[in-house]
């Protein structure tokens, strides 16, 4: 059965470009659909050489010898760089985004399968790859630390023995919320007859963002000017430039980072990878441009993974369904290096929002990070800095509570959602939710789904099954998520000391066309369109008349880049404000043109107009020409309308949404079919509804993938079992129903245009809806939880009371 097609959700681009907000086709797509995008691998420079990385086949071993002589003798090889070469330059290790260090090329040990050992530079990529086989590496094996739950056991081998004095694999303990208050509520609930404590162990398995374009770089160090141009796959070009300057000691004005078209990021392209550094060193050593593009397996096995949170959730609840408190402990597997990308003061990202969308008396969580012999990363895959894990936990727990209380999960949510009059709402863990009308959003979703009818159908099917009919199991899953995005206020949020503000510059040409330069970097989100629309709406222009420039540090203002759904909340705000600055400058010029005081002008329908006299008005184009003409300009303008802005967000924005998923499960095979998926998102004001829906579609597909098929498990030897697209499955159109979207709009009160950011909402909100639906379907088997990915084997095993452990190899 195919999904229900709701004609109301088919938003088509308007035939005419809107003068501001509204659906319009993406400006960037003209080049993409013609195959004229330019990705890093499309860049070919004169004299360019090619690099390849030698990687460790084993997860944990001491390196006793690395013999490169045969590779160096290869006729097409120009250089072979090893950890020893880099150690000579002080570059064998580099700092991570979490105040740890990470090996660029291994010197002492290899610490995960796929770790970088050597870098070959050759005439072409084939020769570079051939020469890798000529490098002779001697390994002395060490027992690998694979099972995160055993990483702190006494006697476990120490992964990071490079750190002085280290005797275990413990990275950090972090906590949030009020432990005393929370424990007190739990003690009460345990003692009282009309209350209970519900607990469950919930794993969010290791997954990988798997962007279609893998990571890579072309380093071009000009030996004459001393200027390094780095073409690279980065979501944060400015941050990368500054880090290269600090780490490698290169003068920052002599570094230009260009991030051209990016084929998907999802957080995978936030960090700096050893391959980038090797390409830079390769170019310095050979005096020629060096290109390095990793292949698919390298991307899956060595770059930033996501999640890997082993969570224990406990909820104190009254028997009539009032959620009182939540207590969580997390064991976080960070791999061999703590290289998660997150604001400095947040070692567990924004996991602190694990209280979700509910009105709780108290909450507390502790997170323990551990090293294992796996690739590093952790914050990626559209997770809004671990909000994915937090939302999954609370939404799974709410369903477990509903199961244990025998209560309808929609009813349980309704009883506990925050009410509109509670906003701004300070959560028990200290987050200030800006706005929302949760009950309304949930009701729109339930209405759209036809929730009571679905439950009736389910009851009917269960009856028929009990009577011996061969019918599939039916499951209905809900999730209600609140995100905290748009990091963030600089007083609390920085990455390696760089405040999380972002900038915009707007330049208006004499004929009234404009160039907008932004510090964030699109990886498919449609910035060139959305940001043009934001400025256009403020200036009464057509978005077609505004060119958006991004991704080149020599061309754009400083900022921290695109991830954590922060582009619209931060740079979008900067864009609105810079446009307003331009508008104010235009007012002064217009006052000179109309020979009135600026105070006598009002902004009306995209023009400055003399108050009460619609005949006397000027458009921005007329004003721009005047600003560049021989008109005598009053004080306050210098002859152009241009402006710049750096936006320091006063708070995060809090998008929310209610999702309903309907599945059919074949009890004989465990196969899950998603019949319907209703997604009602509230991301505040929608600038381009078509782009917003595209973002949601993608995120929902991501969620289906994570819930049903994606996962990187390891065997106990440390072999990565998700190192190719045959093993690491991405969902296809066949697994995705026809999405049924809806919206509610609760503007953010503190954002200049009320927008909240939507890039990750669906990735955050959809996995719990799918999992809740599958577990709901399995209720006749007494199942209350099973871990993702819910492959047919996992579903069947859960139905037999033998749930699979999905982080380890199935044996």
């Amino acid at each position: 059965m195919t999904g229900v097609q709701d004609p109301s959700v088919q938003i088509h681009a308007a035939a005419e470009t809107p003068r501001g907000y509204g659906s319009m086709k993406r400006k960037e797509d003209a080049r993409f659909v013609r195959g004229r995008g330019q990705y890093v691998d499309d860049v070919v420079l004169p004299g360019m050489l090619h690099g390849a990385v030698l990687r460790s086949p084993v997860a944990h071993a001491r390196l006793t010898a690395v013999d490169t002589s045969a590779a160096e003798a290869h006729p097409k090889v120009h250089a072979v760089i090893t950890g020893e070469t880099l150690a000579g330059l002080g570059l064998a290790w580099m700092p991570t985004l979490s105040q740890d260090t990470q090996a660029v090329l291994a010197t002492d040990k290899v610490r995960f399968q796929g770790q970088e050992i050597a870098f070959v530079v050759a005439d072409d990529k084939y020769a570079a790859r051939d020469a890798l086989d000529l490098i002779d590496v001697q390994y002395e094996p060490i027992d690998p630390v694979i099972d995160a739950r055993r990483a702190l056991d006494p006697g476990t081998p120490v992964v990071r023995d490079d750190q002085e004095g280290r005797t275990d694999n413990h990275i950090f303990d972090w906590s949030s919320g009020d432990a005393t208050r929370t424990d007190a509520v739990f003690a009460e609930a345990e003692a009282a007859d009309d209350q209970l404590v519900v607990a469950a162990d919930v794993l969010y398995p290791r997954v990988h963002p798997a962007p279609l374009e893998t990571c890579g770089a072309i380093a071009d160090m000009d030996p004459v000017t001393g200027k390094l141009t780095l073409w690279t796959t980065t979501q944060a070009p400015h941050a990368h430039r500054t880090l290269y300057a600090i780490v490698a000691g290169l003068p920052e004005h002599k570094i230009r980072v260009v991030s051209p078209d990016i084929g998907g990021g999802f957080g995978n392209k936030v960090g700096i990878y050893p391959g980038y550094v090797c390409a830079i060193v390769g170019s310095i050593v050979t005096g020629r441009p060096v290109k390095w593009m990793e292949d698919r397996s390298e991307n899956l096995m060595s770059t930033s993974f996501a999640r890997d949170y082993h969570m224990r959730g406990e909820v104190a609840v009254t028997r009539d369904g009032r959620l009182r408190a939540v207590r969580v402990h997390v064991l976080a597997d960070h791999g061999a290096f703590n290289a998660t990308a997150q604001p400095t003061k947040f070692p567990a990202g924004f996991f602190g929002v694990f209280t979700g969308s509910y009105d709780l008396e108290a909450a507390h969580c502790t997170v323990t990070g551990v090293y294992t012999n796996k690739a590093s990363g952790g914050v990626a895959y559209a997770c809004s800095f671990r909000i994915t894990e937090a939302v999954y936990l609370i939404e799974r727990m709410v369903d477990v509570v509903a199961h244990d209380l025998g209560m309808d999960p929609a009813e349980l949510r309704k009883r506990n959602l925050l009410r509109p009059d509670q906003f701004p709402y300070r959560s028990p863990t200290g987050w200030e939710y800006d706005s929302g009308d949760y009950l309304h959003t949930l009701e729109v979703a339930l209405e759209k789904a036809g929730y009571p009818e679905l439950r009736a159908e389910q009851a009917d099917r269960r009856r028929r099954r009990e009577a011996g009919e061969r019918v599939d199991l039916m499951g209905i899953g809900l999730s209600f998520f609140t995100e905290a995005v748009g990091a963030g206020p600089r007083r609390t949020m920085d990455i390696l000391g760089l405040g999380m503000a972002d900038g915009a510059e707007l330049r208006v040409h004499p004929t009234g066309k404009a160039v907008l330069r932004i510090s964030v970097q699109s990886q498919g989100q449609g910035h060139e369109t959305t940001f043009a629309q934001i400025a256009a709406a403020e200036l009464g222009m057509s978005p077609d008349d505004i060119e958006v420039v991004h991704g080149d540090t020599d061309q754009t203002p400083f900022g921290l880049g695109t991830y954590g759904s922060r582009s619209t909340p931060v740079s979008g705000a900067a864009t609105a404000i810079v446009a307003r600055k331009v508008r104010e400058r235009a007012r002064i010029v217009a006052s000179a043109m109309l020979e009135v005081s600026p105070d006598d002008l009002e902004w009306n329908d995209g023009r400055w107009q003399v108050v009460g006299d619609p005949e006397a008005s000027r458009s921005l184009a007329e004003i721009a020409m005047a600003a560049h003409s021989n008109l005598e300009l009053p004080d306050g303008v210098e002859g152009h309308l241009d402006a710049t802005c750096v936006y320091n967000p006063p708070n995060l924005t809090y998008p929310c949404g209610a999702y309903v998923c309907v599945v059919d499960v074949d009890p004989g095979t465990g196969a899950v079919h998603i019949r319907r998926f209703v997604a009602v998102d509230d991301c505040g004001v929608r600038i381009n509804p078509m782009i917003v829906e595209g973002q949601i579609h993608g995120g929902l597909a991501d969620g289906v993938g994570m819930a049903l098929m994606q996962g990187i498990a390891f065997d106990l030897d440390g072999n990565c079992l998700g190192g190719s697209m045959m093993d690491y499955l991405l969902p296809t159109a066949l697994e995705c129903p026809s999405w049924e979207l809806g919206e509610t709009v609760t503007p953010s009160p503190h954002h200049p245009i009320g927008a909240k950011g939507v890039g990750e909402s669906a990735t955050v909100g959809s996995p719990p809806a799918v999992v809740n639906a599958v577990i709901d379907a399995l209720a006749p088997f007494g199942v209350r939880h099973a871990d993702m990915p819910l492959t047919p084997a996992a579903v069947w095993s859960a139905s037999r009371g033998r749930p699979l452990r999905t982080d380890l190899a199935i044996t």
């Binding site: 051939d130 893998t214 004989g668 095979t669 098929m709 190719s724 047919p792």
Partner: protein, 290 residues
Amino acid sequence: MQVPAQFAYEKAATVDEALALLARHGPESLVIAGGHSLLPMMKLRLAEPSTLVDINGLAELAHIRVAGDEVRFGALVRHAALLASPVAREHFPILTDAERVIADPIVRNRGTVGGSLCQADPSEDLSAAFSALRASVVIRSAGGERVVPVREFHRGPYETAVEHGELLVEVRVPIRPGIGSAYLKVERRAGDWAVASAGAVISLEGDTVRDVGIGLSAVGAPHFVAPEAEDALRGGPATDEAFAAAGRVAAEHCSPSADQRGPVDYKRHLVSELVTRTLRQATARARGED
């Protein structure tokens, strides 16, 4: 992306020319048909042939035709052509069923019947379907032609009766009136290899099973068949209970291994479930009920 090792390339225009090229380039040369198994192996450097002999130009091997009491499928028949073939659908719906779940349209547009059988991947679907149908394959060498039953074709994972310097040229399937057939596969995602799959071909005499073929894939069944289950059914009643019992026999005698597609107990369960279901469906088709 993934970078293969160096190799030479030759294009053959006829079967004889292909055989001559293989002889000339020696044991490190390999035939390439659709390339959907061979190229990924080369990119991962699991295969490093010295020379590829391209047989995609061999129009003489792209036929599907009825010849007497059998249907002949050329080795170069693409999955997509087999999927669309009215001849296959009429006589052997098991093949149409199987093709519907093999890989994805992109792979099916290039991948071939011959390449699938010769790759002999333990999770390959057509081998199970052709084994259930008791097909034969025709192998050509410089010395001539031989016909090998599919149930003797596979020597083990990735190994077949085709020697170096030989070509598989045709698959022949006997047409038997009154049979029904069906194929089912459980996969983690469209286009994924099977967790387990099963195919059944059944011919009835009234309500008695005259003969039956049961193919299995991805579960370590030698020659992709379940002979014990076939024996258990043959001559007995064509009932749901008998099918379920045959499913259990098949499950007991195969030897699946655990991997990320599932643990052994699950795969055995699937064999039992899928054998039962395909027998039911094949029987319905034999009776003209489906």
